[in-house]
């Protein structure tokens, strides 16, 4: 009730925290758990991706499945959001910006992943792809949950939209499509590595101090 709000405000003032949005006592406790869950989900997906990527690249055939394969990144491939970012820039991201970047990236990656060859290889491969997409969808929802529990609005225009933004030509030939697929999987892998660090950072920043102070206050 009111007493919690006042208490939270006092804590924010004392600890120089960013403005605490009006919320009830359970929201930030919930955010902490959601962040942990999201972190766990990124590790799980990273593990799943290793197997899926191996199988899919074998389907594309050599040289795509060779360990040191490094094809040119064509301009059209830029539509896949890149996880690579300057270190200082990354450290300086606000929580909101950090979460929004993750949310936008995975929403787009999910769309492109769903557009992967529907006839690809064996029924087993198609099944693995489908399963991975479901898990990735779960990650997107999880990130949205964290954002809303911290009071941040979801980035606009990233709801399940068309696979390619208007103006991008469809891949003109099968070989270029294979290269696109390769880079999609690579970028997905990089994002999952990065997200683990993003959520680790967020874990530390969702103030546990607020949580423990509240628990002490309960003892009054």
């Amino acid at each position: 009730g009111d007493s919690w709000g006042i208490f939270a405000f006092l804590c924010a003032a004392l600890c120089h925290l960013p403005a605490v949005p009006a919320l009830n006592g359970t929201d930030e406790l919930g955010a902490g758990q959601s962040i942990q869950k999201t972190y766990d989900l990124t590790r799980y997906l990273e593990h799943q991706l290793r197997t899926l990527a191996g199988t899919y690249l074998n389907y594309l055939g050599p040289p795509f499945n060779e360990p040191d394969f490094n094809p040119p990144r064509l301009a059209r491939a830029e539509r896949v959001p890149s996880a690579t970012v300057d270190l200082e820039l990354w450290r300086g991201l606000t929580d909101n910006a950090r979460l929004a970047a993750n949310y936008r990236a995975y929403s787009r990656l999910l769309c492109y992943l769903r557009g992967l060859d529907g006839q690809a290889g064996t029924a087993e491969l198609r099944h693995s792809l489908g399963h991975f997409c479901s898990s990735l969808q779960g990650l997107v929802v999880s990130i949205a949950g964290v954002m809303s529990s911290l009071g941040y609005p979801l980035p606009a225009g990233t709801a399940a939209g068309p696979p390619a933004p208007a103006g991008t030509p469809a891949t003109p030939n099968d070989f270029l499509k294979k290269m696109d697929d390769f880079w999609l999987l690579k970028e997905l892998q990089t994002w999952l590595w990065r997200s683990a660090k993003d959520f680790n950072r967020l874990k530390k920043k969702v103030p546990p101090a607020v949580v423990t102070l509240r628990l002490e206050a309960r003892g009054f």
Partner: protein, 375 residues
């Protein structure tokens, strides 16, 4: 990673061709106008392996061709990767080669209906050559004499070449069923198979399979089960089959002439042995048809053991005679002993007998410590 401008660095021709196994191909790689590369700066790879320079030919300053003869079926269904590289290994362009055979008529269409509710069909591809290219199979069916063509939707339910029709199946009128195969090189349609759902009915394995001993009989087990519940409202005669094996063997013995009963006694078994038993059912003569149906799966194995025989290893005497023979043996030994140790019968007394019994006990103990009694 190097970023290329929107225009491609090179163009390959033909781009993503489809070819028959055994055919030959000459491909060209033309470097784009703005590039500083020349034909002699290029080389080719196929599926990651460098192609021999002997198969190259320069067709002008900026075009290098390669000749590929007697192509084998594609290494992967996504197409063989033919790539044009610059001298330093960089990829300039690529083309996917689809090498295979047109499909042949799918064969061996076989179908079964579970409890007359659905229909599952399997088939085999006409030739192995179809596996080099992605081949699409479509199962179609229609009621004989009327009805329109229907297409099966649920594939791969019973292996890669299978389809499942879950509902809206009619009885008493035969169906015409066929499979169409198509890939990049052509289309093929199987022969039409005609069948009546009632002739291909199978059911669930029998339920509640119980295996128990028959009193103390060491070589028999009694098996009981109930008829599969799904068909209980339908007029049919069930036929059953039992198979059983010893726990540590993989050889099943089959009992074939079980007929219509829901119990059976297995005989001639080994005493003191664990047996695994399974039962399956054939819905014979549904709605008066004279035809056999299709055997169900075997029920989950049920285990039971035959009683162990009382005659343990080595024991040959019947139970009743044991005590008598022990006494007689003892007496024989006693008289022999008396002959040796007692001169004349005057010393024969109960004391002597007791002494003897004590002696007998001591020597029995010693014998047991050394090894098993030979009896």
């Amino acid at each position: 990673f190097p970023l290329f401008p929107a225009a491609d660095p090179a163009v390959i021709s033909p781009q993503d061709p489809t070819l028959l196994i055994g055919s030959s191909l000459t491909a060209t790689c033309t470097v784009s106008a703005g590039s500083r590369l020349r034909a002699q700066d290029l080389y080719w790879t196929l599926n990651g392996r460098r192609l021999p320079a002997a198969s190259y030919a320069a067709l002008g300053a900026t075009t290098l061709s390669v000749a590929l003869a007697r192509l084998n079926g594609s290494k992967q269904q996504s197409g063989d990767n033919l790539v044009c590289h610059s001298r330093d290994g960089g990829i300039l362009a690529g083309s996917c080669l689809y090498v295979g055979l047109p499909p042949e008529k799918p064969v061996n269409i076989s179908c079964w209906s579970k409890n007359m509710k659905d229909l599952t069909c399997t088939w085999a591809p006409g030739t192995e050559g179809e596996t080099f290219l992605h081949t699409n199979y479509t199962l179609k069916y229609k009621l004989r004499w009327y009805g329109r063509d229907n297409t099966c939707q649920e594939y791969h339910t019973a292996g890669p070449y299978s389809c499942h029709i879950p509902k809206d199946l009619a009885l008493f009128t035969p169906y015409e069923i066929w499979v169409e195969a198509s890939n990049r090189l052509g289309v093929a349609v199987s022969d039409v198979v005609m069948l009546d759902i009632l002739d291909v009915v199978t059911t669930d394995p029998p339920a509640d399979v119980h295996v128990s001993r028959v009193g103390d009989l060491e070589d028999q087990l009694s098996v009981r089960w109930s008829s599969p519940p799904a068909l209980k409202d339908f007029l049919f005669q069930a036929k059953y089959q039992i198979q059983y094996r010893v726990e540590d063997s993989s050889e099943w013995k089959v009992v074939d002439d079980v007929g219509n009963q829901t119990s059976c006694r297995l005989a001639g078994l080994r005493p003191g042995t664990v047996y695994f038993v399974q039962v399956r059912c054939n819905p014979f003569g549904i709605y008066g048809s004279k035809r056999a149906g299709i055997w169900s799966d075997w029920s989950n194995p049920t285990a039971a053991s035959t009683p162990r025989s009382e005659r343990a290893a080595g024991g040959c005497e019947p139970k009743g005679g044991e005590q008598n023979s022990t006494l007689r043996r003892e007496l024989k030994q006693f008289f022999g002993w008396v002959k040796k140790h007692a001169y004349g019968c005057s010393n024969l007394s109960i004391k002597l007998y007791d002494q003897w019994r004590v002696w007998l006990q001591k020597s029995h103990k010693a014998r047991n410590q050394v090894g098993k009694d030979p009896f």
